[in-house]
């Protein structure tokens, strides 16, 4: 099929970017979206032009490195799908597709579609863990975790850290990302112990960085590849209030 692309090109965070038009004529509907971009890049390289820089790695929806805005939607039109898992069968012959980077103050553009998401790592560094050193762990079955507890924790732990929640949020809030980690660990007996400290540290870090506030529009869950529930945000708020009362 024939696909018209409008792709954001930007040299670096200090220069202005703009949309560029490209047309691909031999797109196969079995191709993944990123393979379609590979095709574009091959053509650009052959013409001596600079290929479009975009992030990707595992191409099976789990590493969280890929992610662009496709027609204004983070990761494109399919629900619970990363950019790499989106296939061209979701588009039709003659379509025009807008491809832009994830936009948020906390995600400065590196080049073209590549952005810097280290702010998400910074939030985890503030407390997204159980403070246990290697070698201290007791026999695993001495910590019983009911099936429901484990499944609930998993639902939150499934976050792949792609940043779609931030990109889609009109406030560029990282509440879903932060809430998911706080909820995962608060839902487990291993993580409950330091929940107060963890929650305050992570929330404070999130506010120190360039993320906006959550106003509960819930767009984040809609575009989350892992369908992380906004209830984790409520849980974060609950844990935060609880911690502040004890503070």
């Amino acid at each position: 099929m024939k696909i018209h692309l409008k792709v954001w090109r930007q040299k670096n965070r200090h220069t202005k970017g703009k949309m560029h038009d490209y047309t691909l004529t031999e797109v196969d509907e079995e191709m993944s979206f990123l393979e379609m971009l590979d095709m574009l890049n091959l053509q650009l390289a052959k013409k001596g032009e600079r290929p479009v820089e975009f992030d990707h790695d595992c191409r099976e929806g789990i590493c969280g490195q890929c992610g662009v805005m496709i027609n204004g939607i983070a990761h494109g039109p399919l629900k619970n799908t990363t950019t790499c898992q989106l296939h061209m069968r979701s588009f039709k012959d003659g379509d025009t597709i807008y491809v832009e980077p994830f936009q948020a103050k906390a995600f400065p553009v590196i080049r073209d579609l590549k952005v810097n998401r280290t702010s998400l790592d910074e939030i985890i560094a503030a407390g997204g863990y159980v403070s246990v050193n290697t070698g201290q762990a007791p026999e695993a079955n001495t910590i019983l975790v009911s099936h429901e507890e484990a499944e609930n924790a998993f639902d939150a732990a499934a976050c792949i850290g792609c940043g779609a929640c931030v990109a889609t949020c009109k406030n560029a809030s990282a509440a879903l990302f932060t809430g998911a980690k706080i909820a995962q660990l608060a839902r487990l007996p291993q993580g409950k112990k330091e929940s107060n400290k963890r929650t305050i540290n992570m929330v404070n870090r999130m506010e120190d960085l360039d993320f906006g506030h959550c106003t509960n529009t819930e767009a984040c869950q809609v575009e989350c590849p892992q369908d992380i529930s906004v209830l984790t945000i409520a849980e974060m708020n609950y844990e935060y209030n609880k911690a502040k009362l004890k503070d």
Partner: protein, 640 residues
Amino acid sequence: MEKEIKANIPKGNLQDKWSNYKAQAKLVSPNNRKKLEIIVVGTGLAGSSAAASLAEMGYKVKAFCFQDSPRRAHSVAAQGGVNAMKNYQNDGDSVYRMFHDTLKGGDFRSREANTYRLAECSASLIDQAVAQGVPFGREYSGYLKNRSFGGVQVSRTFYARGQTGQQLLLGAYQALMRQKEIGKIKLYARHEMLDLVLIDGKAKGIIARNLDTGKMERHAAHAVVLATGGFGKIYYLSTLAMGCNASAIWRAHKKGAFMANPSWTQIHPTSLPQSGPYQSKLTLMSESLRNDGRIWVPKAQNDQRPPHEIPENERDYYLERKYPSFGNLAPRDIASRAAKEQIDAGKGVGALKNAVYLDFKDAIHEYGKETIAERYGNLFSMYEKITGINAYQEPMKISPSAHFSMGGLWVDYDLMTNIPGLFAIGEANFSDHGANRLGANSLLQACVDGYYIAPYTLQNYLADQIQVPQSAINHPAFEIAENQAKKQLKEFVSCQGNKTSEEFHRELGKVLYDNCGLSRSAEGLQEAIQKIQQLRQEFKKNLLVPGDVEDINSELEKAGRVADYMELAELMCIDALQRNESCGAHFREEFQTDEGEALRNDKDFAFTAAWEWSGDSSSPILNKENLKFEFVQPTQRSYK
């Protein structure tokens, strides 16, 4: 000159070796640890767990990864599980049995002592991961759950839905970020190691390129740990991530580190088949699916009917037929070869006739759709996203695909290469899996190397380095290495040919897959070597890399990786060619039993081939580490 090399295996009984080692290993006092610096390249399970553990002990650690965050390393993609000897199921498991399963699974081509240590340390890993908050599957009572995996008859696999690797890696990554927060680890994401720096024969640092700016950096340390994963991506189409590469270990090899058994690549039986020429990767479907899915092909060649129209008596459940006691859970090398046999016989299914069916009809009938969804839900939805097919209604189509590198840098019992101070852990080394890795042993090995072995063995090495001042990064060795790396990058850009590195990579991958993949022959390998040499010549003259050196440039990154693959590919073929036997994943057509199974030759080939760089990729030097079986008598592997 061929020489025999020694692995420094501690004396004593199998079960005492590691405890003896730990009891006698040298220590570094807490005060001195902060004066010692360690570079860890790679932040997958092995790298993150080692970096975190060493930093917790008090060492200064620098961690490098090429991804934008350490959490993205390809350990995330492991789906099915991690093995550990807990015997929670009371099904007859023991450390010895796990050791024996692993040794046998590897077709008796690994070291007894290393394999035993892997089994011995496995239980602690589950304790560690649970303490970190890894949400493993649980029984309703709250106890940990297990499933079984290929090549064994007990249930010792722990899992977190279909995302075990991701959850384990998050545990290790979070431990790493915790140390970064308190300044014990300096993190260098979007950095790629371009060379290893040796001073007085010891590993003393690396040259890295900042991928965001293209700038070169020098980093010095008292020891360097490579945890850079496997190189299955050399086949181009593989289950690996796009960025996975051999560059760090290959460049260390060119600085003198031996490469061991490089041709032993696991071809995974349950990946999604290729659907077209533009394809960039093959997605793996977890082997755990084989617990409940039944593999079959139509009995007739070129059967055009859709699967539900083919009656039971016209289907061939070939694994159940050929290997009745293991059935669909036969080890990976055997399952992959059996699939290739059916596909080659014209019984393949799908548009390109390159797949076999994996059918859940019976399991859904027996356990209900809900149970199957709970076990494999995310895999079924992933399958649907990629293929557009609902596997609850129609069998999956699967196909073999390049997956895991059993080979890698040669290391001794300490996981140290033959270069003092250079360690290799996880998939980057060769040590534990012999000629074929058992499912769910990969996450295990990465974690055990990083959490439990490197912290002891590195310390044992570092104890003698306290008196040695840290090398300055203006030492000539750094300068030479940096200039060399720069020169190569400039050559790539100034070549101005008309073929991109990706196009070269695809061609190379095809040559390798056809001749040094599921089955190999002397004739095919010789032909492949010639083709690779030609391709390498062409690569030098006709490479197209747009953009600049000192700038962000993903085409340039690829060029460096493909240049290394061009050399490594030839070594793989040479390695496969010298091994005149079949073992595990290395199947030489000339050496098979009457029933078509691998025919080992223990008399002549019970050794690890540790190749030494000679300065020319076409004439490497073969060194041998003889494998001595003191505790287990190798037998012909049978899963019938």
